[in-house]
């Protein structure tokens, strides 16, 4: 190792440690300011007060460039961050590779849709319900059902390890999607379920808070994320978190030291699933319409990409990853318009489309590859996980 890299690492270490070394009130104050900024992010006043130039009449906001939809993109980032946080428990903490995580999102979304929509078949055909239930009541049910499906999936499959588990979970998500697509009896196939309920609440002037405007949904999901972070941290710093790390590092040794490995793996699965279901129910509360097209396999992969990009085993990493995988393609979609970049170039008489809009997934994919090559532990890694990864690399290819 050259002295330069040592110095660089020491500097990085300092940055993190320096924050940790601040007195506790200072740390809390910094976090509070940061959170307040997050809440203000989609409002125009925020940028005006900070002195960002806003192009007149365009409605564009800096950082996000399609103006009025900034809150919408942030909301989408929000439920992806929740998904990433959930998968982080399963993959980052307990080390279980789950490729079908979006299945739990689907369970949560469909539960809310079925119970809150007046056009749900539970009401129109089967008369199980007399009238649609309020959204808020259905969220705990959605979480419980997602958790139950996590347990049902985990019970037989968590005896498997590694690749085998990945395949089974992949199958699970596909089963949910295909059943939703092809079955008419309750989920209504591709026609889906319209008029899904929204969260409750009205402004003082009597207007519903949660309607078409995205900003309140963003505030809601942000609040939920903060609560989830606290709960996950409680778990990570307890007997449960220790058991997960032990299982991840050496499952056999953990079991021989008295860790009920199966029980805690199942818990990791159930908690991840519950968070996934919560995310799905928040999404359904906004989406108004739920059908099977939302739950394609790419979404599961995207959540996985978010966790790995951010850094498995780290809450900050999951948040960063979930944000990037949604925000970056959206930002690329319109950044060209704002800066007036050319959309086409002509080379030897051939017009080539080079607008960031059409190339956004190419750019995004290339960036993912670059990050994974140069920073396999993720952008904001958990120290322990990063070290484990390094050890494993050494096992594969001894250096020096």
């Amino acid at each position: 190792m050259t002295t330069e890299t040592v110095k660089k690492q020491r500097w990085k270490l300092n940055l993190r440690d320096r924050f940790q070394d601040l007195p506790k009130p200072a740390r809390i104050a910094a976090m509070v300011v940061f959170v307040v900024l997050l809440y203000l992010l989609p409002t125009k006043a925020f940028y005006e007060n900070l002195g960002f130039p806003i192009p007149v009449g365009s409605g564009y906001l800096p950082f996000y460039t399609t103006g009025s939809d900034m809150a919408g993109v942030l909301f989408q980032c929000g439920y992806y961050i929740l998904l990433a946080l959930g998968l982080n428990v399963v993959l980052g903490y307990a080390g279980l590779l789950d490729l079908g995580f979006f299945g739990f999102f689907a369970v949560g979304a469909y539960t809310v849709a079925l119970l809150t929509s007046p056009e749900s078949k539970l009401i129109t055909e089967y008369n199980w319900l007399e009238s649609p239930w309020p959204w808020l009541v259905t969220v705990p049910i959605a979480i419980a059902l997602a958790m139950l499906s996590g347990v049902l999936l985990g019970w037989p499959t968590l005896r498997l390890r590694g690749d085998y588990l990945a395949i089974v979970t992949l199958g699970f998500a596909e089963i949910i999607r295909i059943v939703a697509k092809n079955q008419d009896w309750i989920l209504n196939g591709d026609r889906g379920i319209p008029s899904v309920g929204h969260p409750p609440g009205t402004w003082p002037d009597g207007e519903a808070i949660f309607d078409l405007e995205f900003t309140p949904y963003y505030w809601l999901v942000l609040t939920v994320i903060i609560a989830v972070i606290f709960l996950i941290r409680n778990l990570a710093n307890s007997r449960v978190g220790r058991a997960w790390v032990a299982i991840r590092e050496d499952e056999d040794a953990a079991e021989l030291m008295g860790v009920p490995t199966f029980k805690f793996k199942l818990w990791a699965f159930a908690i991840g699933a519950a968070i996934g279901g919560l995310s799905g129910s928040l999404w359904a509360g906004q989406a108004n319409f739920v059908n099977s097209n939302t739950f394609s396999l790419e979404n599961s992969i995207l959540v996985l990409a978010a966790v790995l990009l951010g850094g498995a085993g780290s809450i900050g990493g999951a948040i960063l990853g979930g944000f990037i995988v949604i925000y970056l393609p959206e930002w690329l979609r319109s950044v060209g318009d704002v800066f007036g970049w050319p959309t086409q170039v002509e080379i030897a008489g051939i017009h080539i489309d080079v607008s960031p809009t059409s190339l956004r997934f190419v750019i995004f994919g290339a960036l993912l590859i670059v990050v994974m090559i140069y920073r396999p532990q993720g952008l904001w890694p958990n120290r322990r996980r990063a070290a484990e990864l390094k050890d494993r690399q050494k096992e594969v290819a001894p250096v020096e």
Binding site: R239, R242, E249, M257, G258
Partner: protein, 259 residues
């Protein structure tokens, strides 16, 4: 020898892997409060015997009883909870956890905090964390690595890692501690220290089963010795008896050609 209470009974255990007979009707008893040595040349089946006891393998025939209760077929973490703890021949700590956390994992064997308690930070969580931490620090002190509690296990020296493994096993509050070649790779001074530690563990009321290659260590510390060769028990007795047993000598040194 007065009345002795059997702690572990290995009752005619046979273990086959396909055609290979790893253990062949092995039969011995471990009494409370003693240090029993399990020795034998390489490949004699010592570690296999350990694995059968701790639930890693299921005996093909025969029974293993611990405190009078059948062990075979029980879950491994349950066996640990019953009071049998072990270390590993090739160290298997949790490398990226600190020394303290490693011991805490062992101490957790008797904690009942689970997800709801930890999630809501109920009093039980705090109580168990506090008690386990105190116990873990005590054990780090007991095995002689005070002051290394916040170091990652992988950064400890080889000898300290072996000690940490013992502390982690002791944290599960075992009645029986099984040490699988704890002195492997030790220099003579470290071996002496280990000898003292093993005696100290016995004096604290824990029965010890010791697998060891180093004859001098075994002779110096054990009350009784069981000798295995090719999966079969060939001798059992006090160190003196075993040392003078011609079968044992033959197993270790070979039989002289007819002379």
């Amino acid at each position: 020898m007065s009345e002795r209470k059997a702690l572990l009974e290995v009752d005619n255990v046979t273990l086959r892997f396909g055609g290979v007979v790893a253990l062949n009707q092995v039969d011995f008893t471990l009494y409370e409060g003693e240090i029993l040595g399990l020795i034998g040349p390489n490949g004699a089946g010592k570690t296999t015997c350990f694995n059968a006891m701790t639930g890693v393998y299921l005996p093909t025939e025969g029974q293993i009883r611990f405190k009078g209760e059948q062990v075979s077929g029980k879950k491994r973490n349950k066996i640990t909870k019953m009071g049998m703890a072990r270390t590993f021949q090739n160290i298997r700590l949790f490398p990226e956890m600190t020394a303290l956390e490693n011991v805490l994992v062992g101490a957790d064997a008797h904690n009942s905090t689970s997800v709801p308690t930890a999630l809501l930070r109920l009093p039980k969580h705090w109580r168990e964390e506090r008690q386990s931490k105190a116990r873990a620090l005590e054990l780090l002190d007991f095995v002689g690595i005070t002051g290394r509690s916040d170091d990652l296990a992988r950064n400890l020296s080889y000898g300290d890692q072996r000690r940490l493994e013992i502390a982690r096993a002791l944290a599960t509050n075992p009645a029986l501690l099984c040490l699988d070649e704890p002195a492997a790779g030790f220099n003579p001074a470290e071996k002496v220290a280990l000898l003292e530690l093993i005696k100290k563990i016995r004096d604290s009321g824990v029965t010890v089963l010791l697998i060891e290659h180093d004859m001098r260590l075994v002779m110096g510390v054990t009350d009784r010795i069981v000798v295995l060769e090719f999966g079969r028990k060939i001798a059992e007795g006090t160190p003196e008896e075993v040392r003078d047993n011609p079968k044992v000598v033959a197993a270790y040194l070979g039989v002289p050609d007819a002379a």
